[in-house]
């Protein structure tokens, strides 16, 4: 995973914002994990290392000081790679499959694909209501049913949704949602397909 | 006489004891029949073929058979089924599962002195009718209930 650099300003602010308590449970916890965990398959031991964003969210209980959050959010936003062709809408049918698939990126999976050789899934239904036909949806994320119908199908919305899936943290620093593009979980084509699932007027999500 | 039959007889104390019991009427014909693993019945792909193989023909529907099974099974791999027959002279209780790859699940012989009631747990491949067949005084009776099989969710 890429690590984003914290600016000198950010690092200084962090040092002020979080002075260590009497006992360093955090340091103990990290040392313990580094001692106890081992790499397995594609899940390297480096996954235990926090990047700047994870560090800030961890140290602040997911509630960082405003200045730090804005600065880091901006870094995340600037690192989003939008499609070179300027098009955001893919195939909603392919998007539905990606949304349903919950596999990928664990130590049982392979680089860039699942243990069964399929492209990584987005696990979207695990947390979100999306299409009305699937009633077995999770509730960690908000409902996306009728997403386009409610929000409109415009180019700005398409770009926003693409960016949100690529890197949710560019919009809400300590969001629960993974950074699917940034982490290399989903490809540009896959993200476009998911955008279509939410924003193609013909997608069942908008029926 | 096949291998499995002999094993069961040995468990009962040997062939000579079996002959003695059979002669004295202590082992009824039903019990001896159940000792045979009815391959044809167990290979039947649907309830009708299984009933034919069991020699049960077209059993009469009966309200005197009580089946306790879930409306919706939490997991098709382990579904509790309890069957009780209030029909006098019940000799056997048989469980059949319509939409499993093979329909016959189990058949229990009920000797006199044993209550005509058994509980077990079965596998259901999908949402299906579960049938309980009872043989009493040479006649066959049946009841059925649908059990839905759900899916979804990571376990634990």
């Amino acid at each position: 995973m890429k690590t984003l650099q914290v600016s000198i300003f950010g690092a200084a602010a962090l040092a002020i914002a979080f002075s260590a308590g009497a006992q360093d449970y955090r340091g103990q916890a990290i040392n313990m994990m580094k001692q106890d965990f081992h790499a397995k398959g594609i899940a390297g031991i480096d996954r235990l290392n926090e990047d700047a964003l994870q560090l800030v969210c961890n140290r602040s209980g997911n509630n960082p000081p405003k200045g730090v959050a804005e600065r880091l959010q901006q870094d995340q936003f600037e690192a989003i790679k939008y499609p070179a062709d300027g098009k955001f809408l893919g195939d909603w049918k392919a998007g539905e499959k990606i949304a349903q698939r919950g596999r990928g990126m664990t130590w049982k999976d392979k680089a860039g694909k699942t243990s069964r050789g399929e492209p990584n899934g987005g696990s979207c239904y695990n947390c979100h209501q999306i299409g009305a036909a699937t009633t077995s949806f999770g509730t960690i994320g908000n409902s996306l049913l009728h997403f386009g119908k409610i929000r409109g199908y415009g180019a700005d919305t398409q770009k926003y949704v693409y960016g949100k899936i690529y890197n949710a943290k560019a919009f809400n620093l300590c969001s629960n949602m993974p950074r699917f593009g940034h982490s290399g979980t989903l490809t540009e084509t896959q993200i476009k397909d998911l955008v279509a699932l939410l924003l193609d007027p013909n997608s069942p999500v908008n029926k | 006489m096949n291998q499995t039959r002999r094993d069961v007889l040995r468990a009962g104390g040997g062939a000579s004891l079996f002959a003695l019991l059979a002669a004295s009427g202590m082992l009824r014909p039903g019990a001896a029949l159940a000792a045979d693993w009815n391959q044809k019945a167990f290979e039947a792909k649907n309830v009708k073929d299984a009933l034919d193989a069991l020699g049960a023909g077209n059993p009469a529907s009966s309200n005197d058979i009580v089946m306790i099974a879930p409306e919706i099974a939490e997991n098709g791999a382990v579904v509790p089924i309890a069957a009780t027959s209030k029909i006098p002279g019940t000799e056997s209780i048989t469980i059949l599962i319509a939409k499993n790859p093979t329909a016959l699940a189990a058949s229990f012989d009920i000797p006199s002195g044993t209550e005509a009631a058994v509980s077990t747990r079965v596998k259901l491949a999908q949402t299906t009718d579960v049938h309980v067949l009872v043989k009493a005084q040479g006649k066959y009776y049946m009841t059925k209930k649908e059990v839905k099989v759900t899916i979804g969710g990571c376990g634990g």
């Binding site: 899940a43 964003l53 947390c127 999770g138 960690i140 | 997991n75 509790p80 790859p101 099989v149 979804g152």
Partner: protein, 289 residues
Amino acid sequence: MSSIKLRVFVALSGLALACAAQAQQAAAPKKAAAQAKNAASGSKSAIAAEFEKFRGIMEDASPAELFEVKGEELWKTKRGPKNASLEKCDLGLGPGVLKGAYVKLPRYFADAGQMMDAERRIVYCMVTLQGFNEKDLAKQPFSKGRHVPDPVALVTYVAGQSRGMKIAVPQKHAKEREAYKVGETIFNYRAGAWDFSCASCHGEDGKRIRTQDLPNLSSKQGAIAAFQGWPGYRMTGGLMHTLQWRMNDCFRQQRFPEPGYASQTIANLLTYMGVNANGHVYKGPGIKR
């Protein structure tokens, strides 16, 4: 694979696929939706009540008891290079005291100088009393296919000896209080490919993944729900699993590297969860979906 075949496969198969259902739905969204709709035709609470009723019927004669029987035999049999039984193993209440030991674990053990949960302590006893090699025990520590690791049966036996007793994970020793805090920190530590921590799924009330309710382990009620039913017999696959397995598979789904078997990290996490569940009556080894 067609949806029907896949369903037959999963239902009859009993393969322990952690997220089998999801894969199923991925392969057959339409069918899955139809099934879910079917299942939802009653009210949600009616279904929950139905599940509970038949869970109760199964808990009355739980297949977990078979593993208690097996574990008891293992506990009392002289085994290992030192040809010793585990009857002198001290689970925290003195050598050989089993009654109520499980509900007071994890705890700090002065002899080892470390925090230990039930499985970690049993492995420690197997190594120190019986002479087994710790690395060998860690090779295949989870139930799979026909393989039932000895510590799994032993934990089930030991847990059964606390049936009906109150959960009372100690916080007397400074190390025990420290373990709670460190465990809490690990619980909330976000990292890895998807920025997940334990709390991403288990930090809020009333959430679920797909149809699976997620206990909020930072709350008393959620921690009780999680302590209860482990070690558990999973109907899917018909395998007996302990909390070591549960923690391992959670970290897998968290997209983390693999935690060491019976490691300090797990003992600290289980301290956090166990203390949060204190005061509630433990029902003994249970049944899981």
